[in-house]
Symmetry: C2
Subunit: 362 residues, 2 copies
């Protein structure tokens, strides 16, 4: 990665998230060609949108040739480039929104032709809104009472579309996946961040429990980054969740606020729709697991990276301490935030652990 | 990729092959951590073997925990690190051989637990030797008369184990794969390179035709790099091959000898077991498709990258010109050698094309 010509914000962004782009499906070619062109953070979004458009054109050509699986995967690739164009980008809100729209459109165009297909679900949400989600049920996942399923919970400024590579690890083990946009995420970016996210997951559970293709007694949750707070919290308050995994989430965001990257603090403020950073700092204190986990009676796996510079590993130790015997803690010494540098280690671990807890025969 | 501290040979190797490591399954983490430690090419093999040993230990731990799919994929990861440890490395022949052995052992340990399983096949070969191969038949590939299959043909200093990520693209389309080590490849590194490689492929075809799980009337071949010469040549001379794909192979190696990287010329000399480079230059002239393709009556797809600095794109045009109407030529403007920078474009294309020619319903 050549970032020598980029400005400070871009370098900061890359220092935290370069490996995330690769782990989640951006090609090394795109990363190595687009990034050196970024001279200031302001240009980031446009340059990635241009590259996304190239990938989208290729997808269209494959579609026109009737090569549907190839086209579907190419649309996901385009979608991911649009996603990272707008990721933690707040310089031009119109442009960010445009990238979001194109991301969703590109993904949706390929979705029915993916293997397994990605079925769009819209779960009603107060205010005439919906929680849009993506349900994928692999061929080999059909148990006697329906397929086991893992609800994938995104973090700050992440969305359902970014889970594509992670989903495959579950599908390979015969587990369905459901990823969705909650408040302040993706298609719901204009809704305020909701610290009591268990209420969101409960609405999702209502829907999944009514889908006869799924086994409602075998549903788990996995969240990454801020989702690594949402998922344990949901496990604690939503008894229908059989097990949960939190990856590099905070125990109490107020405690780590000062050490967060500038772009993340910006993102939290935008998600809470605060007037200024002082308000954001105050609101961040509402993101806390304190007192939520002590009575936990279902299994929780906490995965963290000792080299996480965004959410310090001490936060994982606090979660584990409060959850007690219900919690297993795995710390990877070499892991950065979301252990995005070692997806080949933590993802299979999380999937095998959930398979075990959801009684999936792998 | 930070190569500033590496010596000239290492920099040359990386300039040609860095993207190959990533395309074929080496993690970005390993590439970005191991490579900056390489100060001279002599150290390359040992440093990668050390990293491979770490990956192998992780695989062993997964295996001991009964996490068999995870373990299998981890063994492949270890195997690939051992593979690239010895790839185009001729500084220490004992060490190279040791890396080869460990590569094969690691792969073999995981093989039965991969999805689809990788079944080891040993096809008899003159001199009491065998052509060791890896047959993988995906669940969804079973046609009425058996599964369609693609024979994967490696190039110089490449082997059956390196095809792991490519194989998945075929399996996703319901096509079985067979990869093997021919003369001067992998476990047969001590046998001389055989320019009339169609004789090798014919022995492979004899075996595959006798496997009732495969449909002998639906077998194709795909070769990369020097395999991009072997596969078209085999298609020309072996009538049981229904279709063939050549990726970035030479039309006539003698024509491009002077422009080949030093490490590649070394590799050709080693594979021909010549005394010196002058002899290697002479032997390279035997690697030629001249006169082989003019009567071709089955479909051939030639894929090449316009930015291939190892095998110039003119070689692809010569192959296409000689093969005439039987040949389709696809040139990617941005593609380097084996189009390893754009695997997401050429691999689905090759797989879709072969699926079509082998009457696979995708």
């Amino acid at each position: 990665m050549n970032e020598s010509s980029a400005d400070a914000l871009t370098q900061e962004a890359l220092s935290h998230w370069y490996v995330r782009l690769l782990a989640n499906g951006v090609s090394y070619m795109d990363a190595s060609e687009v990034i050196p062109k970024v001279r200031s953070w302001r240009e980031w979004c446009r340059l990635w949108m241009d590259r996304a458009a190239v990938r989208e054109r290729e997808a269209r050509e494959m579609e026109e040739a009737g090569r549907m699986l190839s086209a579907a995967e190419a649309y996901v690739r385009a979608s991911l480039a649009y996603h990272f164009a707008q990721f933690v980008y707040h310089e031009d809100i119109e442009l960010k929104a445009e990238a979001q729209r194109r991301k969703v459109a590109a993904y949706q165009r390929g979705a029915p032709h993916l293997d397994p297909p990605a079925e769009r679900v819209e779960i009603p949400w107060p205010g005439g809104r919906t929680l849009p989600g993506v349900l994928r049920i692999p061929e080999g996942a059909k148990g006697e009472d329906g397929a086991p399923c893992v609800v994938l919970v995104a973090g700050l400024d992440s969305t359902k579309e970014e889970f594509y590579t992670l989903e495959g690890v579950f599908h390979a083990r015969g587990i369905a996946t459901f990823a969705f946009d909650g408040p302040a995420q993706g298609e719901n970016a204009d809704l305020q961040l909701q610290p009591d996210f268990e209420r969101v997951v409960s609405v999702v559970m209502d829907h999944l429990a009514g889908d006869a293709r799924l086994d409602s007694s075998r549903i788990g949750a996995l969240g990454v980054s801020l989702g690594g707070y949402y998922a344990p919290r949901s496990l604690a308050f939503e008894p229908r969740l059989k097990a949960g995994v939190g990856v590099c989430g905070p125990y109490d965001m107020g405690e780590i606020w000062e050490g967060l990257p500038a772009l993340t603090r910006q993102g939290v403020c935008a998600s809470f729709q605060t007037e200024n950073e002082e308000q954001g700092a105050l609101k961040s204190q509402e993101i806390s697991l304190r007192g939520c986990l002590s009575g936990l009676d279902r299994p929780l796996l906490i995965i963290h990276g000792a080299r996480d510079r965004l959410c310090p590993v001490e936060q994982a130790h606090k979660i584990a301490a409060e959850a007690g015997d219900s919690c297993e803690l795995v710390v990877y010494e070499e892991g950065v935030h979301v252990c995005n540098n070692i997806p080949f280690l933590w993802r299979p671990l999380a999937a095998d652990w959930l398979a075990d807890k959801l009684d999936v025969d792998t």
